[in-house]
Symmetry: D2
Subunit: 141 residues, 4 copies
């Protein structure tokens, strides 16, 4: 585990929401971070699928940490804004949220994210949501 | 309580995520719905503020139900997409998410949302997040 | 005309695209800027309505200049990103794009925009497009 | 030239704005459309770069036509909404806007777009803008 991986793992553990949702940090590499979210009825919207907000929460965290892998030394990341399209209902056994850096400047990073649904039958994962986000690098005070 | 209010309250109760987050349906009126979210450490990001994803979850639900108040009879609403700007850290005792319909067509509704932070000292609520969303009306199968 | 108004009017004149589209600076006040765009077939999409891109161009400029009215002294503004919903076809004699600052920080401003269509018959103007944008303050080099 | 290519070329010619901007249809294939925009001072913002609105106009058209290549027979496409991030100043000799379909349903398509700047020195093209859009399929009346 690299220093950056350790730092992101430690930050991830400090996110109360990730524990509440049951999410798990799955991959950290240069420019890309993945978070896994197992299905739970505690995450549902009114039809029993996973709520757009839970899906967005994990892909936002994946995008923020992806930006962090390309940020200035010692900086932190906050979300300026994101936009998410929901492509199909979030039906599956577990969901993988992937954040990938498109461009990292000194102040801002542009990041894209996607969420893939994995089903119990081992079928090809299906795209559930697509995110385009702006992250801000901030120096800790 | 009107029929529409009852229908929305019943749908809200069926959203596992709203219970998991501790959210409460606060207001239903024509073209506007409000959801209240008390602060909890279980909703935090790594600095202890409420996570952008929890904020987005409640304002997405508020926007969806606002759209429902203007939809064709018997229809349901799903989120096609949303975009959220985070204006300042989500610090507060409780948060009020407000969804308001801008335009409702036959297929799509455009809705705006905002989330206001209320602090224990009773100061003027502060804007935390701003959403612009597209909701789709679907006929239940 | 205030100094700020003069500075914005001068910047507006330097925008080749605004002249190409036939747009005119209509109002500058603290936190709000308006740009007028008369209808022209030179701005059309394939059905003869004004193209979403022309509508977006004027409301982007209005949002950027609105942000400038609240920026640090001597700074300039560039668009980090925007999101636009198109509420109905852009049919009208002229269009008024309004940009309004929601929140201006030191680095970033969040701005909302709308475009209203005015018809020859003097009917109530109709909302054509809704924008939510992030502007960055930059110091000129 | 296929039927679909002819239909798109004919629709493109009917877009007054594309002629006004000097844009040219460069590629039509299943799920992807490209539009070329040569630099012109007539497209500039106040610093002489190409205006975000001109960049958005061509990538919006590319995204709309990309959606059309996957739409139901005889349908047309209108833009419901788009979101664009501007990654760096639009400096170049010419710009290539690429629209690619991510998912096409019966009513809506999710499309991503990018704009690449080509410089006179033949250097590697650079990403200028990134779009994520929702297109609506409509039956002509």
């Amino acid at each position: 585990m690299t220093d950056l991986h350790q730092r992101i793992a430690s930050s991830f553990k400090a996110q109360g929401l990730m524990a509440t949702l049951g999410a798990r940090l799955a991959l950290v590499q240069d420019g890309e971070v993945r978070i896994e979210l197992p299905f739970s009825a505690a995450l549902s919207q009114q039809h029993g699928y996973v709520h757009a907000g839970a899906i967005t929460s994990v892909v936002d965290s994946a995008c923020g940490y992806a930006a962090l892998t390309r940020g200035p030394a010692g900086c932190e990341v906050v979300t300026a804004e994101f936009k998410t399209n929901f492509v199909r209902p979030a039906i599956g056994e577990r969901f993988i949220a992937v954040g990938r850096v498109v461009n990292a400047g000194r102040q801002l990073a542009v990041v894209t994210g996607e969420v893939l649904a994995h089903t119990a039958d081992g079928a090809e994962p299906k795209l559930v949501a697509l995110m385009q986000a702006t992250m801000v690098y901030v120096q800790p005070r």
